[in-house]
Amino acid sequence: MIPGPRLPASYLQPGVSSFSDFLADQAPDLLPGRRALPQGQAGDLAPHGTTIVGATFPGGVLLAGDRRATMGNIIAQRDIEKVFATDEYSAAGIAGTAGLAIEMIRLFQTELEHYEKIEGTTLSLDGKANRLSALIRSNLGMAMQGLAVVPLFAGFDLGDARGRIFSYDVTGGRYEETGYTAVGSGSMFARGSLKKLYRPDLTEAEVVTLAVQALYDAADDDSATGGPDVARRIFPIVHVITAEGGRRLSGDEVAAVADRVIAGRMSHPDGPTAPLTGGGHA
């Protein structure tokens, strides 16, 4: 566990630069996915996070999430945060069992920072994506009992100088997405919206609007996804990563975009329309 005054000999041993490997050795009780669960479904016992969307644009990538966590038909929390910076050039959004997912992201954040400090260099974006795979895979037992964690991972690849998005399944399978994607209960509706609105040449500001539109559409048709809460001024979390690093948009910035989107929906409740024929831009 947490050592006393003198550093234990195992701390002074060189070699391991993975924090989760070190944890498995020193304090396995702190690792998620190592707990024995009794038989049965536990899915309804804990809050679930819902919709996350991601999209790339020239020079970067965006990740955004709604603010709702549900427990069955109950709204467990209306201002939960589900998009986290995992290091300077990457971020993850979580869908699935909120408690386990937040713990997994905390471990993943520490893992990346630990590697960076021990090795003096950062992992490649693919390396980071693979580490996240391993963490998800270790949760497979719980996923089979209804406590699945399915994150969306996005980052700026400094080697390729472009933004990239990775989606995952419960077995830790990792899939690189082109352009845009969504995960979570409202992802079908969000993806439909993204499909019609996304263009590869959108600017950073346009991609922010795109994400807010997609989350609005998800909330429109999925009861577990939270729409913009105008009365409480609760709007999605939006994280943008470019060559200059990651930045979470301030509440005011997102609120301004959300207000414009809501104003547009007052006259067109279904949002912007795409042309019926032709590949041309609307």
């Binding site: 566990m1 947490i2 050592p3 003198r6 702190l30 300077e88 905390r106 920072e113 400090k117």
Partner: protein
Amino acid sequence: MSTPFYVSPEQLMKDRADFARKGIARGRSVVVIQYADGVLFVSENPSQALHKVSEIYDRIAFAAVGRYNEFENLRIAGVRLADMRGYAYDRRDVSGRALANAYAQTLGTIFSSGGEKPYEVELFVAEIGDEAAEDQVYRLTYDGQVADEHGYAVMGGAADVVAGYLKERYAEGAELGDALRLAVAALGHTPDEKGVARDRVIATRDLEVAVLDRTRQRPRKFVRLSPARLEQLLGDRASSVPEPAAGETTTPDLLGGAGEVEGEPPVAP
């Protein structure tokens, strides 16, 4: 059968201390200076890969002199301890004091145990607060002693000469550029083979410089200064090496200002 020699405990400890001190004195110095926005670390280190100054956690940094493999192990242990605490509790629960204490206990136990050779290292552990008054610099010696340093501190090779230079010129609350110029000049003020203190210009590529900068927006306040940034901060140094003030205790330059010491062999960092 031979009778084993009796060695008094005093002599034993003195021998071990001499051994450690000799190892430490071989390397070059590391300077730590408190400036307006945080803590600055400067060392002369020709290696780009093997660092003497490193990040431990958000507001905590580490600097060392002596045997590389030994202080590298201590650094890794410090990163593990800090990350473990930060993960098990919270980021705010990782403190420089606890880390300095862990290092002190470790070094002290190794120094006084008969079985292990003492570590030939000296460490700085620095932590910055929200205000300059909350900044802390701990200095740890090979035998596990901890000292609280204020303003500036030097360890390694010619620590006394460099510290003497700093003592005369250090001013509290300096800007980064001023603090850096002072530290680099102090590191260049080293005795030559005749024991005469001389001023030389250390090439930018041979400097390892890092800061804990409280003005940074991100939680991790540790930054290495790139050679380009160093050039910019240091400016033209050839003309600006401070001349020894009149009445200074240093011996006059017998070689008639033959310039900087060039072509020195690189030392293990």
